[in-house]
Every structure is written in structure tokens, then in C-alpha cells.
């Protein structure tokens, strides 16, 4: 009947947990929803640790120009220096400062984590909701596509895609990760949608005259917030690892500075043989830490769609 502008009672769905004043419109506001989600996650010790670690990486990425002693691409130093006061983590086989590379490298990893997580989740939500809510051909086709993506082994597919997709760059890597990473989330969201669909409150919304899109996005989706968040963090974690893997295999653009390309160059210049273990250890540790902190946040997402836990 009316479009998205209808916000009856002044309480949009995003605000449902917030017992605001009963009168007077108050738009939900994405920031507020995000703030509440973070507050909700904060309640879980593991999620808190994960969020603090991620925050640290974000600060490092944002402040890289300030924190890094040199430009990451500056190759004017002596090759393969050990740690010293001038180069805290030494230099690479091609004469770049390792610390600066590690600091700048966080940008790429975070970018990939966020983009891969976001786009893979968008696809997963769309496919999952449609396949779970609709009956007939749509359900069959989407379900089939999801299952196909699930049974194809991820890494080989990524390698094939990365090899054949024209161009070499971070956007190609993100594209490849998204294409191979949405199916798990879609599968989980599909079965949850199918189960929520048979709940009485969905029939109630139909009888109240709500249209399909409104039922899907206002009745069903909010009840799956924790699963959506879980699929985001899982995809982001997989994205961080996959990006490092693809770069390490040389399927990315070796001239960008990321933890994955650092490992690629360390391998190419036989860093371990020359005793330059820090070149492998530093980016490796960062990849592991970022992936682990994303996974830690995932422990806290259960509380996101529980109205009782939302309150305070």
C-alpha cells in the first residue's frame, strides 16, 4: 500500500528494542543500530577481545603514514638487513623496511576483510531470504546454485578464477573471494528463513496486510541478525586468509604492499634461508591475529537477535 516511508507508531523495526516514546516519529538510523550491536557484542568477553584487536588494526591502518618510519615502497635501503634501531624489523631482500610494510599491509587486509565480508553477506542474505521464503522454481534454482558452490572446493576455484579473470589487483581478489564465499551463509540463512516463515507472526503479518518484501525484511530478517553477523564475520575471516593465500601464490599484484605479497616476496627471495625469519613471521602473525579476532567477535553474535539481551 505504502512504501518504505511508513513507520507506524514512530518505531521502525531497527529500533524495536529501544522502548522509545510511543509518539513522534524517530527514524531507526543505521549508526544507532550499529552502536547497539557493538554494545551488545561488548557483553561477551571473547567478542570484546576480538573487537579491541580489530580496533587496534584499524588504528594502525589509519595511522600508517604517521607510524611507519619510511614509505613501504622505498627500496633504497640495503638488502636483507637484520633488526636494528633504524629498521626495527630489518629490511627485505629488495631493500624495503619490513616494519613499514607490515603497518601499511594492514590496510589491504582490512579492506579485503570488510569488502569480502560485506559483499559475500549481501549475496548470502539475498539468496538465503529468497530461497527460504519463496516456493517453487526460485527456491529450486537458488538452492541448487548454493549447493554447487558448497561442494566445489574453494581454493582451487579461487586459483582458477584469479588466473582467468582479467586484470591483477585487489578488486579482482575481492571479487574472487566474494564469489566463492557466500554459499555457506546463504545455506544457513535459507534454512533459518524457511523455519521462521512458518511461524505464526509471519501469518499474522500476512493477515495484517503486509506485503511480501515487508514480511521478509521487517519480520524475518531482524530475527536473523545474529546469523547475518555470523556470516559476515565468517566471510571476513575467510577473506583475510584467502587474500593472503592468493597473494602468496602470486595471483595478486605483487607490487601492492600487503601481508600476502610480503610473504610472496619473502618466499621469492628465500628469506628463511638467509635467516630473515621476521619477514615471514611478522605478516604471518598479523594475518593470524586479524583472522582470530574476527572469529572471536563471532562468539558474541548470538545476543544480537535476542530481545531480552538487547535491552540494556
Amino acid at each position: 500500500m505504502r512504501g518504505a516511508g511508513t513507520r507506524p507508531g514512530g518505531l521502525g523495526p531497527g529500533l524495536a528494542g529501544q522502548a522509545g516514546p510511543p509518539r513522534g516519529p524517530r527514524p531507526p538510523g543505521g549508526l544507532l543500530v550499529l552502536a547497539r550491536a557493538i554494545r551488545s557484542l561488548w557483553g561477551d568477553g571473547r567478542a570484546r577481545l576480538g573487537m579491541l584487536t580489530i580496533l587496534a588494526f584499524v588504528l594502525v591502518a589509519a595511522l600508517a603514514p604517521v607510524l611507519a618510519p619510511y614509505s613501504p615502497t622505498n627500496a633504497s635501503f640495503a638488502d636483507s638487513l637484520g633488526p636494528s634501531a633504524r629498521h626495527l624489523l630489518g629490511t627485505t631482500g629488495t631493500g624495503q623496511d619490513v616494519l613499514s610494510q607490515v603497518l601499511y599491509g594492514s590496510r589491504i587486509s582490512l579492506l579485503v576483510a570488510m569488502c569480502a565480508g560485506t559483499f559475500a553477506t549481501l549475496i548470502a542474505v539475498t539468496v538465503g531470504l529468497l530461497a527460504g521464503y519463496l516456493r517453487g522454481v526460485v527456491e529450486e534454482v537458488l538452492g541448487f546454485a548454493t549447493n554447487v558452490m558448497l561442494v566445489i572446493p574453494g581454493l582451487p576455484l579461487m586459483i582458477v578464477l584469479a588466473t582467468y579473470v582479467p586484470g591483477r589487483g585487489i578488486s579482482v581478489i575481492i571479487l574472487v573471494i566474494v564469489l566463492t564465499g557466500w554459499a555457506w551463509g546463504a545455506r544457513v540463512l535459507r534454512s533459518q528463513t524457511a523455519s521462521l516463515r512458518s511461524r505464526d507472526f509471519v501469518l499474522a503479518a500476512q493477515l495484517s496486510g503486509d506485503r511480501t518484501w515487508r514480511i521478509v525484511f521487517h519480520e524475518i530478517l531482524p530475527n536473523m541478525t545474529s546469523l547475518v553477523a555470523a556470516s559476515f564475520f565468517a566471510a571476513a575471516t575467510a577473506g583475510v586468509l584467502a587474500e593472503a593465500g592468493l597473494e602468496f601464490l602470486g595471483l595478486g599484484n605483487p607490487s601492492t604492499v600487503s601481508w600476502g605479497t610480503m610473504l610472496y616476496w619473502a618466499q621469492n627471495t628465500s628469506a628463511l634461508l638467509t635467516g630473515q625469519w621476521i619477514q615471514v613471521f611478522a605478516p604471518g602473525l598479523c594475518i593470524g591475529l586479524l583472522a582470530a579476532s574476527l572469529a572471536l567477535v563471532n562468539f558474541g553474535v548470538d545476543s544480537l537477535s535476542n530481545p531480552r539481551l538487547r535491552e540494556r
Binding site: R7, P8, G9, P13, A16, L203, A204, L207, S208, G209
Partner: protein
């Protein structure tokens, strides 16, 4: 206001295909006819598996019959689509059995009531809070300001059921389909909800199709009974008459199943031996599901 549209169910059958098993179908309804006159409260009574909820969903146009037709006044219910269906939703509303499942846990009372007000009555946003408050007062939830911003889990079972009833009233329906509206509530709350439904029915001239397995609540809520067993009507008549002079053995068993506490004499009579026999094995109505699956 066409005061005087009756609901007429004519020889309706509904089969469900059992999931996973091709060709095997379960006959939920096997040719049911009944009428609800304007302003009348009719009880549709049966044990689980009798098909009573299926019939409710057909009357609500939430599902379509495999055979037969349903009329509401001149409207052919099973053919409704789009705009006409929406108009029908205005006239016929549903009170759910489980007040815990019928409200979205993430939406406030205000939201739940605003949807039908906006969709079915076409009210502008600015009128919604006031109308929602009036609905709450109508079902005895006052002061409304206190309840509008609440989430379902902040309400008791009885309060939730009142919200569900208020939502059903939002579109000013002519016919209310109430599916076991008190069976999930504590016994001490049932009288209040039944009194509310009865009051709505008499004071606003609502017709009601009251679905239940509980003949005591049917007795106080309805004036006519239709007894359904395995998708067929086995007995029909004025409520008091059917209860006092049941003709069909199934009706008698339903009457026996009501716990009677009014006098000491009844207490022993009910738990007496006739059902306690090892015949518990068959229990007539017990195995509709198992029968279908095992077949």
C-alpha cells in the same frame, strides 16, 4: 456497512501432500459444510487432527481448498487475490492460539497494532498511535501509553493474548476466527479472555468461529456447535443441546475429557475405568499422524 454477511463453507475438502513421499496425501478435511450467521458465535470442536485449524486457514484465505467453496456474503473466498483479498482481510480476522508465537519478538505492541491500521484501514501515520491506544483500551489494556512501547517478552501471556485480539480488531472485522484462544493460558486467565471475546461479539455484532477442543470454553463462548472428527462433521446443533444430549460417541468422548470439578460425585465418575482399559492402544483419535505416516 453490510450488516449481515454470513460465512458459508460448502463441502470443503483439503488434502496435503505428505512431505517427501510422492503421491501420498493426507486428507485434513473430507467435505465439510457449515454456516456462521451474522452476529452468531459458532464453536468448531474436535481433537487434534480433526482438521479444525485447516478449516480456519481456508476461511482466512491463507490456504486454498482442494474442493468445495467458501462464501462470505457474496464473496467467493477461495478465489480472492490482490486487492480483493486485502478487502477480505479487513472483514475476517484471526485470533491465534499461541500468544507467544503470534507476536514478533522484536516488534513493539505499537508496531503490531499499526500494521493492520495502516494497511487495512489506510490510516495516515499521525493517527496510528491514537488508534492503537484506543484498541488497547478496548481489550482492557490500559493505560495504553504504558503498553504501546513494550516488547512481547515484557508482557504476560494474558496481556499478549489481548494484544493479539486488539490486532485482530484493528481492521474492524465482521467475522473473527478464534483458534483455541485460551488453551495456552493459565486457567485463571481464561474467563477474562472469554468474557472479552463474548463482549466483543455481542456489543459489536461480530460473528465468531470459535475453534477449540475444550467444550467448557465452547459452552460459554458459543451458541451453536459443529463437531469435527477426522475432517468430517459428525454432529451439529445448539451448544447446550449438543452437550446435554450428545448423539455421536466422539462428542461423548470429548465431553468426558473435560475435567469436572463442580461436585464430588463427578470426580470419580470421570476417572472411572472405561477409558483406563488397555485399549489405550487405539484411543481412536490418537493416531491420525502416525496412521498417515505408517500407511
Amino acid at each position: 456497512m453490510s450488516a449481515g454477511r454470513s460465512l458459508e463453507v460448502r463441502d470443503v475438502a483439503k488434502a496435503f501432500r505428505a512431505r517427501g513421499s510422492r503421491g501420498v496425501s493426507v486428507q485434513a478435511l473430507r467435505g465439510v459444510s457449515l454456516r456462521v450467521e451474522p452476529g452468531e458465535a459458532v464453536g468448531l470442536v474436535g481433537a487434534s487432527g480433526s482438521g479444525k485449524t485447516t478449516l480456519a486457514l481456508l476461511v482466512l484465505a491463507a490456504q486454498r481448498p482442494s474442493r468445495g467453496s467458501i462464501f462470505f456474503g457474496e464473496t467467493r473466498v477461495e478465489r480472492l487475490r490482490g486487492r480483493a483479498l486485502r478487502a477480505y482481510r479487513r472483514d475476517v480476522q484471526y485470533v491465534f492460539q499461541d500468544p507467544y508465537a503470534a507476536l514478533n519478538p522484536l516488534h513493539t505492541v505499537a508496531y503490531a497494532l499499526a500494521r493492520p491500521l495502516a494497511n487495512l484501514r489506510g490510516l495516515p501515520d499521525r493517527d496510528l498511535p491514537q488508534e492503537a491506544a484506543a484498541l488497547l483500551e478496548r481489550v482492557g489494556l490500559g493505560p495504553a501509553e504504558q503498553f504501546l512501547p513494550k516488547l512481547p517478552h515484557q508482557l504476560s501471556g494474558g496481556q499478549r493474548q489481548r494484544v493479539v485480539i486488539a490486532r485482530a480488531l484493528a481492521s474492524r472485522p465482521k467475522l473473527l476466527v478464534a483458534d483455541e484462544p485460551v488453551s495456552m493460558l493459565d486457567v485463571s486467565l481464561r474467563a477474562e479472555i472469554l468474557a472479552l471475546l463474548k463482549d466483543l461479539q455481542t456489543s459489536e455484532g461480530l460473528s465468531m468461529l470459535y475453534i477449540t477442543h475444550d467444550l467448557l470454553s465452547a459452552r460459554v463462548a458459543t451458541s451453536r456447535l459443529v463437531v469435527l472428527e477426522r475432517g468430517l462433521v459428525v454432529e451439529e446443533g445448539p451448544t447446550v443441546h449438543v452437550l446435554q444430549h450428545p448423539q455421536h460417541p466422539y462428542t461423548r468422548r470429548l465431553i468426558d475429557a473435560v475435567p469436572k470439578l463442580t461436585s464430588g460425585g463427578d470426580v470419580d465418575g470421570v476417572s472411572g475405568g472405561q477409558r483406563a482399559a488397555p485399549g489405550g492402544r487405539t484411543e481412536g483419535g490418537e493416531e491420525p499422524g502416525a496412521g498417515g505416516a505408517g500407511a
